[in-house]
């Protein structure tokens, strides 16, 4: 057969093909094994502490290495408390930004600016709102790109001095409210929560915006056609339809907040106490690990591994729930289309 364009693969090529396919399969298996190994490694390393402290580790409040007493209830409380409050901050800002991006505010703003300047709409300017939206989305994504240790640094030198006057005033005048019950000491729950909220906001904005945009246009048009105002449409039609997608995003952001380490380790105050006050220093599981691991002896390591396992369990649970909700949300919207 003279130089044919195509010819069947040679035996060597077929063998290579088999080997390469097996290799790909093996790496996929390797990934699976890695995840299992990670969980097992942390669990076995924490086993001695689990045997020694049992479930009392989760319900006690003392952390005193000198007396050999270890329990992490204050850290569990601090993790959940800061995450929930941070989620609140992040959701308010993230959802507002998502509505702003998805509901045509930029087009309106451009239109107003052009009429105010008495400029005529030129063909090229029709893309202006889209460009602006792209720019705003990039700015929000930029918030997500800044490393958390930089947020920690910023929190120490900008956020804490900035909120100090307000915090001092609140404690002096409204000190009877439990939220403001302790005096402001710098690092504590409030600065940590604010920075945490900023850090998870991009996640919420991105997922919520996707959810809002994928609401079928006919629903929106129908609401406008019935005479609803923009906000009546948003509250009665768009948000309920997109609710599941938004909620899934919020749950995923919650998972991120639970595992967030550096900003919290720098801002939360690392104090082993349970308090609802926003100004009180606290501690979280991740911050405990970050601060205690570098100097831990063999026995402490086992205890910290146990704490890490608790953190792993909590975040895994939250993430699986969030992913499941998002998956169901996309299926539900497919039905509405």
């Amino acid at each position: 057969m003279p130089d044919a364009i195509s010819r069947p693969p040679s035996r060597l090529q077929r063998a290579t093909d088999q080997v390469f396919r097996r290799l790909c399969q093996a790496t996929a298996g390797l990934l699976l094994a890695l995840v299992v190994f990670i969980v097992l490694r942390i669990a076995t390393a924490g086993a001695p502490a689990m045997r020694e402290f049992g479930l009392g580790f989760l319900t006690g409040t003392t952390w005193d290495p000198n007396q050999g007493r270890h329990a992490i209830l204050p850290e569990i409380w601090g993790t959940l408390y800061t995450s929930v409050l941070g989620l609140l901050v992040g959701t308010v800002f993230g959802l507002a930004a998502a509505v702003f991006l998805a509901e045509g505010y930029l087009g309106q703003a451009v239109h107003r600016a052009l009429t105010a300047l008495k400029l005529e709409l030129r063909p090229g300017w029709a893309q202006l709102p889209d460009r602006l939206e792209q720019l705003l989305r990039n700015l929000v994504e930029l918030l997500a790109a800044i490393p958390s240790v930089v947020y920690g640094l910023w929190g120490i030198f900008v956020v804490i001095p900035m909120i100090r006057p307000a915090a001092v005033w609140l404690h002096a005048n409204l000190g009877w409210v439990p939220l403001f019950g302790t005096s402001f000491s710098g690092p504590g729950v409030l600065p940590a929560v604010l920075v945490l909220g900023i850090m998870i906001m991009p996640t919420i904005t991105a997922i919520s915006r996707d959810a809002l945009i994928s609401v079928p246009p006919k629903l929106r048009m129908a609401a406008y056609g019935l005479g609803a105002t923009r906000w009546e449409t948003i509250f009665a039609v768009i948000l309920p339809t997109a609710a599941r997608g938004i909620f899934g995003g919020v749950v995923l952001a919650f998972g991120r907040a639970l595992g967030e380490t550096m900003a919290l380790a720098m801002l939360v105050g690392n104090s082993n106490r349970i308090s609802v006050s926003l100004f009180s220093p606290a501690n979280t599981l991740a911050a405990l690990l970050a601060n205690s691991f570098p100097e831990a002896g063999p026995k402490q390591v086992a205890i910290l591994m146990y704490a890490a396992l608790v953190l792993l369990g909590i975040t895994l649970l939250v993430n699986v729930i969030g992913a499941a909700i998002l998956q169901r949300a996309s299926r539900q919207l497919e039905g509405a289309r």
Binding site: S6, P9, Q13, R14, T16, F20, R21, C24, Q25, T27, A28, L30, L31, L32, L34, V35, F37, I38, R41, I42, A45, F93, A97, F100, Y105, L136, L139, L142, A145, I146, P147, S148, V149, V150, G152, L153, F157, I198, T229, W231, G255, R256, G259, T261, M262, A286, L289, A290, F293, P294, V301, L304, M305, A308, L311, L312, T315, L316, G322, A323
Partner: protein, 309 residues
């Protein structure tokens, strides 16, 4: 207007008869309009407020970090507490080294797994592997450090750059796999079918058609993963720890010794009471953010080149 016979006639001629135009004017005195206006203002204001931190961070980095940034800061070793001057040259080298090793470790595994997921993605193993990658996406970064501590530091008996790189690699792998899978799936099926039709084995088609076509998308994922890893601190504080010395000295790479990194330097110096070290922390933060942004921008630029259907 009273509904008598003449009115009916005029109504037929004038379609706007019987409409009270003053009722149709947009007025903030109406509760519906007022509510809408208030909510509009609230949303716009909240969005503007949400961007305040970004500008504040950028301003602080440029002002406090830029003030201290100099050739000396980029090339010298960290100062001891009471010392003046100094820099974070070894931390830059350490960060680059660890991220580089992590990339070398994870890119082959990530791409091969993505090829498997994109080509025979229906099976049980593929489903499980995809689930594992998604689980790793939400994996707290500190736990990657805990794992690397348990698996590498305890085993080798020393904090090391390798342990740090492995911890970073665990955080990079899911991004690489999931982006690469998407990029591979976006390659038009007809291109693959054409290659198969020419007599190529699936492997040849993968190497000569699939991977080159999807390369921009794959590299985007790699760069995003690099950007994330470069900024991570939590996995490094107790795997690579910190060091006041150079990673490479006398032509010898001390990969099994504690290693400095920019992120850990910022963490350590931020809590110090000495102005010189705090200023260095800001300068290091500026360098770190620029590095992360550079990686992000490269990734974004590449993703625009991607071939789509």
């Amino acid at each position: 207007m009273p509904p008598d016979a003449s009115a009916v006639v005029t109504q037929d001629l004038n379609p706007f008869a019987g409409i009270d135009f003053s009722r149709l004017e947009r007025s903030l005195r109406r509760p519906r309009t007022l509510m809408g206006f208030l909510l509009d203002t609230l949303v716009t204001g909240t969005t503007a407020l949400a961007l305040f931190p970004l500008f504040s961070v950028v301003w602080m980095l440029a002002w406090r970090g830029g003030k201290r940034l100099s050739v000396a800061a980029l090339t010298q070793l960290p100062p001891s507490p009471m010392e003046a001057g100094g820099g974070f040259g070894n931390a830059i080298v350490g960060s680059l080294f660890m991220v580089g090793v992590a990339t070398l470790l994870t890119v082959p595994i990530g791409i091969l797994t993505a090829v498997y997921l994109a080509r025979d993605g229906g099976g049980r193993l593929a489903g499980a592997a995809r689930f594992a990658a998604k689980v790793l996406t939400g994996f707290p970064s500190i736990l990657a450090g805990v794992f690397a501590y348990g698996a590498v530091v305890l085993l080798t008996g020393s904090f090391s750059a390798i342990a740090g790189a492995i911890a970073l690699g665990i955080l990079m792998i899911p991004t690489i796999i999931l982006t690469a899978e998407d990029a591979l799936r976006a390659v038009p099926a007809r291109m693959l079918e054409a290659a198969i039709g020419m007599g190529a084995t699936p492997t040849q088609a993968t190497w000569m058609v699939l991977l080159p076509t999807a390369l921009p998308g794959i590299l985007t994922g790699v760069m995003l993963a690099v950007a994330r890893a470069a900024g991570e601190t939590a996995p490094l504080i107790f795997t690579a720890l910190f060091s006041n010395y150079w990673l490479v000295s006398h032509g010898h790479v001390a990969a099994m010794r504690p290693t400095a990194s920019l992120a850990v330097l910022i963490f350590n110096f931020a809590g110090m009471p000495f102005d010189n070290q705090i200023e260095l922390a800001w300068a290091a933060a500026l360098v770190l953010v620029l590095m992360v942004l550079a990686a992000n921008v490269v990734g974004q630029t590449l993703s625009r080149r991607q071939v789509t259907q």
